[in-house]
Amino acid sequence: MTPAIPILEARRLTRELPGPVPVTLVRDIDLTVAAGEFVAITGPSGSGKSSLLYLLGLLDTPSSGDVLVDGLPTVGIPDNPLADLRLSRFGFVFQFHFLLPEFSARDNVEIPMRRLGLLGTGEIRDRAEFLLETLGLAEHAHKLPEQMSGGQRQRVAVARALANDPAIILADEPTGNLDTKSAENVFSLFRQLASDQGRAVVVVTHDTELAARADRRIHLVDGRIVP
């Protein structure tokens, strides 16, 4: 990956919620994230951190501006190709694990791969087990989410985010619900994903201590980047 083309780029990104009193979530955000870079977005509650992340993750449509993935603009792409793009290029981790409660840890990790359909059933299973193993969850593979601790669930969610080997990992308060030790674990995991595996990682957090360990820290106030 040449550093010349940033893997994820925001250009004058603005998002307003229409209504009798329009609410501006983010305004005029310019941002580039390169492969192997670990970016932390911080800011007070309601500053638009999460909104920015959803825009970067193509979950929300900007009111103006554009998000470029691999240098290509995404505004105006229809829903279905956009979903396909998310499936192959993005991995999401949210504050709540959002694991499907009826499925075991391994099944949950398999779901994105089965949806993508590039690998055979055996390969999918192997990869799911491999991912869980790297995250230290080998013996929990068959467990249902409700049988696991918060930290374990969040790690399963990370494994699921990595399932399709995405270039971009987006995480929204991934440690928000975890105790200090688990939070530490998960955070160093993201650190590795960027440094060792060369993925672009964008994490929204309000924990300044953890944010300090990122390559770059972006502080948002009232929907704008402040230096």
């Binding site: 999460s50 909104s51 959803y54 993750g57 979950l59 929300d60 829903d79 279905n80 979903a83 396909d84 793009l85 998310r86 499936l87 192959s88 993005f90 999401f92 949210f94 504050q95 709540f96 959002f98 499907l100 409660p101 009826e102 499925f103 779901i111 994105p112 089965r114 949806r115 993508l116 359909g117 699921r160 929204d172 308060e173």
Partner: protein
């Protein structure tokens, strides 16, 4: 591509919501089962009735009547004028079917037809103090036995008895029972013409059709002509066909050729056949109502699942599931409930039909029967299956569409 995955998710959703799922399964199953049971009962009864009609009555009857009054000279002269003639009525043929022998001869030339002439009329049957009004049908036994199953219906006596006894008469079972008449009893038959005949009962028949058994009597054509004072008159020609479905076209053809009113068995039984149509409408609406209720069950379950699974839908969509993938998951759930329900319903319906078939009781309505006559047809299973599946798919479609339209950002934002 995502087919097995969507199915897997759908199956998990349902299996984790067992009680609701079972309830809606039962809804579909009962709808399907009742349809099969009711349809088999209704059609069984209807077909049995039609079979009895086809079996025991002639398929086509030519009567000495006209449907419309003859065309008047004034109408021929001024074909385009507006003409109203009062008191005009179809001609009354006192002399019965004119040229009946020629008609019979012509019909006998046609393949697959059996033809029998009769003289039908009314009379009073007098036995002791009891008078009963009956239809007197004069027949030629050798031809009659080819056209109706009177001979087979005899529960006492023989058709030949009409020849051997001096004045023989065959009574319907109901006629005999009402007046307390037995075999070999002597009855007095009085015609509207005032002719009185002493006749001997040489046979009693039971056709199973209540109206026939309670009112019809048979005697030789010659005796009937004497009784009605209509020598050499034939007023009905009765026809039996190899192919009963051809009765209507044949009746139309005969009527067009000879001018006389000619009725197929469908026309003669049109009142009853009309009731069947109403019966079927009632059946379909009853079963439709059951299935609509079942639909609400399915709708309810799947709506609940969609509501409970909002978070899952959010994560699946953010992960890269398309709207159609999400919709498919919930439609699959409807289809699963539908198809499992249909299969259960088939089994239940089959059981119900078998159970009804094992019941025995006497009943008397249009027909006399013991127990229910059931018609078992694969068609009922196909129709009920199609209805069940359509209903459950439709019930699932609405919540599924709602689920597919959820925006992932609203879900993750709301929950986070």
């Amino acid at each position: 591509m995502a087919t097995p995955l969507g199915l897997a998710i759908a199956a998990r959703h349902l299996s984790h919501r067992r009680r609701q799922t079972v309830t809606s399964l039962l809804g579909v199953a009962l709808g399907v089962a009742f349809f099969i049971a009711i349809a088999s009962m209704m059609q069984g009864f209807q077909q049995d009735f039609v079979n009895r009609i086809i079996d025991s009555s002639p398929h086509v009857t030519i009567k000495d009547e006209f449907r419309t009054p003859p065309r008047q000279p004034v109408e021929n002269v001024y074909p385009d004028a507006v003409i109203q003639l009062r008191g005009l009525k179809p001609r009354d043929e006192v002399r019965g079917l004119r040229g009946a022998r020629a008609i019979i001869a012509a019909l006998e030339q046609l393949p697959g037809l059996k033809v029998a002439p009769t003289l039908a009329g009314n009379a009073l049957l007098r036995y002791g103090p009891k008078d009963s009004s009956v239809n007197v049908i004069g027949i030629v036994p050798d031809k009659e036995r080819l056209v109706t199953k009177l001979e087979k219906d005899l529960i006492a006596g023989k058709l030949e008895g009409l020849y051997t006894a001096a004045n023989g008469i065959i009574l319907g079972e109901g006629v005999a029972q009402k007046a307390g008449i037995g075999m070999d009893d002597l009855v007095t038959v009085v015609s509207p013409e005032g002719v009185v005949l002493r006749m001997k009962v040489v046979g009693i028949f039971r056709s199973g059709l209540t109206v026939t058994d309670n009112f019809d009597t048979y005697m030789l054509m010659k005796k009937a002509q004497v009784l009605q004072n209509r020598p050499n008159v034939i007023n009905r020609v009765r026809i039996r066909m190899d192919d009963v479905e051809q009765a209507q076209p044949l009746a139309r053809k005969i009527e067009a050729r000879f001018g006389y009113r000619t009725e197929s068995w469908q026309e003669q039984s049109s009142n009853v056949l009309g009731i069947f149509v109403i019966q079927n409408v009632i059946m379909y609406s009853t079963v439709g109502a059951i299935l609509i209720v079942a639909c609400f069950g399915i709708f309810n379950v799947i709506s609940t699942v969609v509501f409970e699974k909002t978070k899952d839908i959010g994560i699946l969509k953010s992960m890269g599931f398309r709207d159609a993938d999400i919709r498919r998951i919930f439609v699959y759930e409807g289809l699963m409930v539908g198809s499992i329900g249909v299969v259960m319903g088939w089994a239940l319906g089959f059981g119900l039909v078998e159970f009804m078939g094992s019941l025995h009781f006497k009943m008397e309505g249009f027909v006399r029967a013991e127990g229910l006559v059931l018609y078992k047809s694969a068609k009922h299973y196909v129709i009920s299956g199609a209805m069940g599946l359509t209903a459950s798919t439709f019930a699932a479609w609405l919540p599924a569409r709602r689920a597919s339209r959820l925006k992932p950002v609203d879900i993750v934002r709301g929950a986070a």
